[in-house]
Symmetry: D3
Subunit: 242 residues, 6 copies
Amino acid sequence: MRIRVVNPNTTRAMTDTIERCALAVAGPGTLLDAVTSEIGPASIESHYDEALSVPGLLAAIRQGEVDGVDGYVIACFGDPGLDAARELAQGPVIGIAEAAVHTASHLGRGFSVVTTLARTVGRAADLTEHYGMGRFCRGIHACEIPVLALETDPDARKIVTEACRAAVAQDESDAVVLGCAGMADLCAHIRDEIGVPVIDGVAAATLTVQSLLMMGLRKSGRGEFATPPPKSYTGLLRSFGS
Amino acid sequence: MRIRVVNPNTTRAMTDTIERCALAVAGPGTLLDAVTSEIGPASIESHYDEALSVPGLLAAIRQGEVDGVDGYVIACFGDPGLDAARELAQGPVIGIAEAAVHTASHLGRGFSVVTTLARTVGRAADLTEHYGMGRFCRGIHACEIPVLALETDPDARKIVTEACRAAVAQDESDAVVLGCAGMADLCAHIRDEIGVPVIDGVAAATLTVQSLLMMGLRKSGRGEFATPPPKSYTGLLRSFGS
Amino acid sequence: MRIRVVNPNTTRAMTDTIERCALAVAGPGTLLDAVTSEIGPASIESHYDEALSVPGLLAAIRQGEVDGVDGYVIACFGDPGLDAARELAQGPVIGIAEAAVHTASHLGRGFSVVTTLARTVGRAADLTEHYGMGRFCRGIHACEIPVLALETDPDARKIVTEACRAAVAQDESDAVVLGCAGMADLCAHIRDEIGVPVIDGVAAATLTVQSLLMMGLRKSGRGEFATPPPKSYTGLLRSFGS
Amino acid sequence: MRIRVVNPNTTRAMTDTIERCALAVAGPGTLLDAVTSEIGPASIESHYDEALSVPGLLAAIRQGEVDGVDGYVIACFGDPGLDAARELAQGPVIGIAEAAVHTASHLGRGFSVVTTLARTVGRAADLTEHYGMGRFCRGIHACEIPVLALETDPDARKIVTEACRAAVAQDESDAVVLGCAGMADLCAHIRDEIGVPVIDGVAAATLTVQSLLMMGLRKSGRGEFATPPPKSYTGLLRSFGS
Amino acid sequence: MRIRVVNPNTTRAMTDTIERCALAVAGPGTLLDAVTSEIGPASIESHYDEALSVPGLLAAIRQGEVDGVDGYVIACFGDPGLDAARELAQGPVIGIAEAAVHTASHLGRGFSVVTTLARTVGRAADLTEHYGMGRFCRGIHACEIPVLALETDPDARKIVTEACRAAVAQDESDAVVLGCAGMADLCAHIRDEIGVPVIDGVAAATLTVQSLLMMGLRKSGRGEFATPPPKSYTGLLRSFGS
Amino acid sequence: MRIRVVNPNTTRAMTDTIERCALAVAGPGTLLDAVTSEIGPASIESHYDEALSVPGLLAAIRQGEVDGVDGYVIACFGDPGLDAARELAQGPVIGIAEAAVHTASHLGRGFSVVTTLARTVGRAADLTEHYGMGRFCRGIHACEIPVLALETDPDARKIVTEACRAAVAQDESDAVVLGCAGMADLCAHIRDEIGVPVIDGVAAATLTVQSLLMMGLRKSGRGEFATPPPKSYTGLLRSFGS
């Protein structure tokens, strides 16, 4: 069972963190690797970045199909390109926001999300609603740490932890969802500090893909997610056509 | 990692089927067993049966805690006693309806549920809505086979399969959720026959519990699911008090 | 016209309070009594208690059918066993949460609920949503008085009153719903103190049952609430089978 | 306890029917009468008619306050002028659509509405949603009998009955709500014919007002429904100013 | 292209303000005028006033049809008589609340409404929900200035501006909707002061009508909004019959 | 006032059609042009195509800002890249799906959408829900004509017309929304044929942008839609970084 975690930004250090967190939960029968997108932004902090991370993500999925990958995780909390990736892949593709909010709903009556910059809150809200989890989501909060600073700012861990603690208090939440793949390695620390369950979407999505594969489930055979019709592409993205 | 699947009806043959299906997906590091309730109805086909299956379920959870079980599956599509079980157990407890509808939402835009008797459709609708999955559910259909006849009626497999096929056609669904633990072993057959993903909640819930345990996640530490306050109990259920 | 109010906990003193409040609003042509459950918890303060109050409640309904009762009130704000009771009874069965939130919606644009322990808030929220009244409910608040202390704690009346006053101010509500049958006799006092309508579910449910009977309305003849199919029962609950 | 049922159209024969149906369910301690609007349309079959029935309705409420009436029923399924009437009246005011859909939700999982002309279906849908009952409403159907023909057309009873039967079959409903005050006296007949509960809003609203009065409940004391601020009125409606 | 803005209160000074604001945005090919209702309240500050403004509004629409008007704006934030006006008019009729909340949804993720008296908040909430814009509305706030004082109170501009500023801060909104036609001329000032988009419904509705006319779109030909059936009217409103 | 309509596919013939339809409704003071994307797919018929049309769209917006464009229309019914475009542009950006569904809601109680291929139905549903218009949308139907065949298939006009007629009949809708920019020039023909309002999103969005500009409204100044933070970009999309 081969699972590939795609980091849709181009920062390898972040891919390493993500891979470590995914490997920590994968089962013994699972071959898991993480890859870094080769096209697009160094980090995803706007609708613009997110939209422009999709070609790189889709190239990675296409390569994964060549490599015989069975299922994929999209390791950015905006779940960029999820529907398009599902068209390309034969097996399941799960976004980390998708997996995280579903998981949180099993743990109590309401959860909070803590994300990086305030400008990403809207996207997190859209996704939560889209997955049917809006009724369990009590608040989405920014800690105003840029994505890449999560790895480099010595205060990052403390700031995210305190943002989580404050979110639980304000929202009277039962659990916290970490709203950025770059927070994956903070998960256990924050849980220990604040005493409520904390969900890392990278781990949650890895396990969701593994579970779907274990059950032999893949995207439905009906039309919406069938292979895209062949199409002529122009300009920079010429190679994406067929 | 010890997972226990509780069959909240008292029919051992059904527990055997359930256990087989759960074991088929559990990971190598998982010790899994299935137990049969010792109190209550032989099958669950009404609100009355479902309500009266709860004491037996809770007794099984209590025993599980003594036995050092880490997580539980409630193997009846009405998810009887789920909230109360979460109060008793230290680890995660997942119902098969809960797991099945969440799983189905990863596979496409809409799913159908096929259940046993028409009188159970209302409960399935309530649960689907409760879990936030109402927007993905396109229809809930009965095949009018009593629960225990699933094991004994030679036509059962054919009837359930045709009900699934009809549901997909009528609802234009991407996937089918089997609405009874007793259908667990029909899952692969039906999928092969009708060509869309078919979800068995027993497998889905087993894997959800296993994933939660793998991530170290359990019910939230906040008050709603804390151990129930000690209480004097009277009459037949005297032994449930403290 | 015979109406029976069932107190699904086993505390007779609370039944007396409930009966008094129900009798105060019943019409002259109504024969009303209140009975105490003989099986289960002394008070209902958790999902566990609520689930385990159902067998006693159902036994009381079964006895009511023998006694020629025409309609029932379930006098606990968790509306335990409501669907199952509707299967057993020929006439209408109404829960006090159900009646209270419907009533509150006639009185203004939004109401608050004040309940006993914080751990019961989730159940009240589920029910409010289930009855379609979520859009009118602005908040559910606990006063942290245990159910039985409502009768014995000399400060109870004051504490509940102040919780109601605070709820109205915080939620900008038009009315308050009392979230426990044990608060029934505080209703008039609180209304006088805080100057907004206060709804006691025991009175509201009694009048709803009486009105349904007056109109000749009972549960629908369609399948979901038909008499449960006969079934073999095992163990402690053997006598509930047929 | 004085309850007044206001027929907001100007057809006395219809008021007589309405009064008979209201009296049939009112309690022995209730003084009930029905009055006919003196301003506006002979029947209400459009948004135009409904809007223009409101001045007459409000004049009747104003007279009722002079006459010492304790509570009111608005006997048209469009619930015309309900919010404005609540501002004028000291006691409760209930619309027959409001009461009917609430009542129907106690009887099963879903109801159908059968109304007169198709052009009134939209208003019925708005109201059902507004009262929070949209999740229980499975369909709203017209039988295309004009309001006043309900009293005069010898086939009316048959046509409405068949429309109800068809609605239940198509919607798989548990109950039927009659969507016109002029159908009030058909209620028992239709129930007997089609074998599911049939709700007449006139009876339901009369009993709701009576119940609210019995509980001492009236509109909330907060601002939205306080007496309207004094205002200069011009033209035909000069007398409505103060 | 003739557009008429109907002020449904009887205060000419307010009509002048409204007309000025509508003319400021109308295209060069548009003949636009504003008329004052001749029947009803001097200002609309209650459900009572709003209901009683409808006959005057409908008379103005009827006159407009005689005058060859192509489309109408209803210039009161309660959108009084909108459905009935649509039945009378051949061309489009748009309410200012309707246009304003739709417009606000194009400008960001959430808006606030600032209205006059607190007692009108409920109506604004109903309309916002009715138009499907509830998910974008983060709060509705009153500034407690009576409608006519908007023109006469020297502090009005300052008070409304500060209410808008406070609403944005409290609701974390992206835009503000002015909840009264009488605030139309404050729009640019407030936007300049608080630095977020501010929407005046008079301008928004004028442009919506003009756009619909430009596209040749009018109310649907299906039945709900067809010309009302002829009807005998009685009393003060006799002239409204046919 | 300069408005630019961006066709996010690379087919110039379709841009010509789109430009013609936009010009037909633009006001005399509006300078309007339409441009064709230079990067990406020849037509947009899958999530894959839609995602990969975004870089070309964003390049066109960036060029528009250089050219002094005041507002933009995204002329594909999937509204690709709308949020990202709003970050780049100083003025308003409107998608044709967004404008079309809002417009349809002004014309009656419910509308149908008729789109090209069945696999695009899901995206249309997501958008309709996202814009708050789900409650007005009664069905989304495919006519199974590929996008580019709309211009070349001699039967296209007939097939789309019949699909619209069938949608109205099946959904009992008041209006039809055309679900593809390539259908823009069919709008008047279909309306004449089927006799209900038909909405072309290109015209609707052009007028919405023009109206917003006329009111001086642009995206909110708050953070979500501020200019994206500068970022290093890699690979094919290097030039999109800063």
